[in-house]
Symmetry: C2
Subunit: 353 residues, 2 copies
Amino acid sequence: MANPVLVEALRGPAVESLHRGSIAVLDADAGVLLALGETQRPVYPRSAVKALQALPLVESGAADRLGLDDAELALACASHRGEPRHTQAVAGVLAKAGLDADALECGIHWPYDEAAARALAAQGRQPSALHNNCSGKHAGFLCLACALGGDGDVRAFARGYVEREHPVMRAVTAALQATTGWDLAATPQGIDGCSIPTYAIPLHHLALAFGRLGTGQGLAPGQARAAQRLRKAVAHEPFFVAGTDRFDTHVMERLGERVFCKGGAEGMYCAALPERGLGVAIKMDDGNTARAAEVVMAAAVEALLPLGDEDRAFMHGLADVTLRNWKGIEVGAVRATDALRRALAPIGAAAGA
Amino acid sequence: MANPVLVEALRGPAVESLHRGSIAVLDADAGVLLALGETQRPVYPRSAVKALQALPLVESGAADRLGLDDAELALACASHRGEPRHTQAVAGVLAKAGLDADALECGIHWPYDEAAARALAAQGRQPSALHNNCSGKHAGFLCLACALGGDGDVRAFARGYVEREHPVMRAVTAALQATTGWDLAATPQGIDGCSIPTYAIPLHHLALAFGRLGTGQGLAPGQARAAQRLRKAVAHEPFFVAGTDRFDTHVMERLGERVFCKGGAEGMYCAALPERGLGVAIKMDDGNTARAAEVVMAAAVEALLPLGDEDRAFMHGLADVTLRNWKGIEVGAVRATDALRRALAPIGAAAGA
C-alpha cells in the first residue's frame, strides 16, 4: 500500500508533482491522535532527533560546567547553514571545551547558505568542519566528552566519538532509546552524513519522544529538565538551530516556545507542541524535506495549535507556498493536500485550535 | 493507483527513501514497447524537450545563416550549468544575431555549477541572464527571431518572444505539436522557469517524439534533417548541453550519437536511441530529476542498448550509485529497482542488448 499524498506541487492548472508520506501525532502517554500512512515501520530520523541526542550534554552537567549559553545549546540541536555567526559560535563552544575544529569528526562541506558559501569564496577561503551543518551537534558531543572523560586529556578521550561503542555515542544512543522507547539494538542502523550512527525508529515512537520532550512526562527528572532547557534555548535563539530564511528559524522566531520543530535529511520532521502535550513525526517517502516535509509540518502546526489570525496566516503561508520563476512570475504552488488537512482537522478541533 | 517504485535509496541495510514514476518506450511508429505506470496522463516536459523546441532554429535556416557551430547548437538544446565556457558561447550566439544579454527574457540566477558560482563571487561579480541554465535555448529563440522577423529591427521584433502568441513561440509550439502529435491547444499549460509556456503532454507522446527525433521517421524532411543536425551537434559537444560532472554530458561523452538524452525539472527525462529506433520518456512523481529520473534513464540505456563491457559498467554505475558521506564513508546506494529492471529486460533482450 502506497502512503497517501500529503503535498502537491501545481503548475498552472495541473498537479505537476506530488509527495507521499506518513505522519504520526501522539501524546506523551503514547495515545495516538493521528496515524496517517505507515507509522509503525522504522525510518531513519537523521537530524530531526538532534535535540534528543543533545539531552546528555545537559543532563550530564557538561553544559553547566562549561557555561554554555542559549545560542550554544541551540547549536547542539542544530542543522545550521554555515553562516559566520554559526561557525564563530561553534568555535566558541569548542574553545570552552579546550578544543578546536580539528577535534570535529563530522567532515567538511561548503556552507549550505549560498550567500555564506559565496562570501567565503570571495575571501579566498575554503570551508572547514565548522561549516558542516552538524558542527554544533558535534561540538556538543565533545563537551559531553569533557564530562565523561574525567580529568584526562579530553582530546585523546574524545577521539573516535562518532563510533557506536564510544562512551559519548553510547550516552547519546541511550537517550534516544529512553525517549523513544524503541529497541535500538534490534533495529536497522546506518551511518549518518556526519558519520554518527542513525537508528531506524517508527514515526509512532518518534512522535511519542517529542510528546515527552515537550512535556517532560515519561522522562527521568534530570532528562525532563534537560529537555526543557534545550527547548527554551532554541526558542530564545532560533537563528542558531537553522539560519537565515529557514523553516525552523522562521517558525520558532514567530511562535517561540509554543513549537519546537526540527527537520532532518530525507524528508524527516519532528516537533513538540508542549501546550497541547503532543509530539509530531513526519517522513516523506521520497526523502524531500525542504519542499515536502516542511509543508506537512506547517499544516500540522496550523491545525493543531490554537493560533491568532496573524500567526495562523503565517503558518498557512508555509503550508501553501506560491511558486515564482526566475522573473518573479507566479507559476504555481506547493501545498498541503486536502487529505492531509482533513486528517489533521479533528485533532485541532478537539483542542479548539 | 500509485505509480510503481522505480528507484530506491538505501542507507545501511534499509530502504530509506523511494521514488515512484512512469516510463514509456515507443518506436517511431507509435509502437509501445513499455508503458510502466501512468503514461497517458499529460505531464509538463519542462527542459526535457529543448531539442524539439530547437528544431525551428535549424529548419528555418537561421542556424545556417548565422553560422552556428556544434557547440552553439548544443547550447540551444541545453540546460547548462553557467560555467564560463557556457556563458561565453551564449554571448557569442547573441553577437551573431546582432544582440546581447539584454535581449534575453529568461531571468537571472546564479550558476547551477557551485564552483562557477563561487568563482563569480570571488571576482566580485553578479550573475546575468547569460548564467541562466536556459540562456542557450533563449539565444536560439532570438536567432530564430532573426529568420522570422525579416529585415526589420531584430531587437524590436524579438521583444516578448517568450509569450505564447509571439511568432517565435508559435513556431516552437508548432514543432512540439508536430513531433509529439499531441493537441497543445487542448492541454494544460503552465509557465516554465524561464518564462516560456510549458504544455502538458503524455509520456506516450513524448517517447514517440523522441523515437522520431532519433530516426527522422514521421517528421517532415526538413524537420528530420534538423533533428539529425541537432543530435550530431550535441554528440560532438556534450559539454555544452549540460556541463561539468553532469549526467547528460557524461553519457553522451561516452556513447556519442548512440544516445541523445535530456533532463528537465520536476523529474522529467527524455531520450532518443537512434540505432534501436526508440524513444524513452520518464516522469518521477515527486519531481526528483537528479537522483531519481537520471537513475531510471541510466537503467533504460543500460537495458536497451547493446553495449560493450566497459560501456555497460559505466551505465550500470549511473543506475546503481554508491552514496558516501562528508568523510567519504560509504553509507548506502541509490539504485534502479528490480521492478524497473524486470520491465526493461525483455525490450533489451529482443534487440540482443
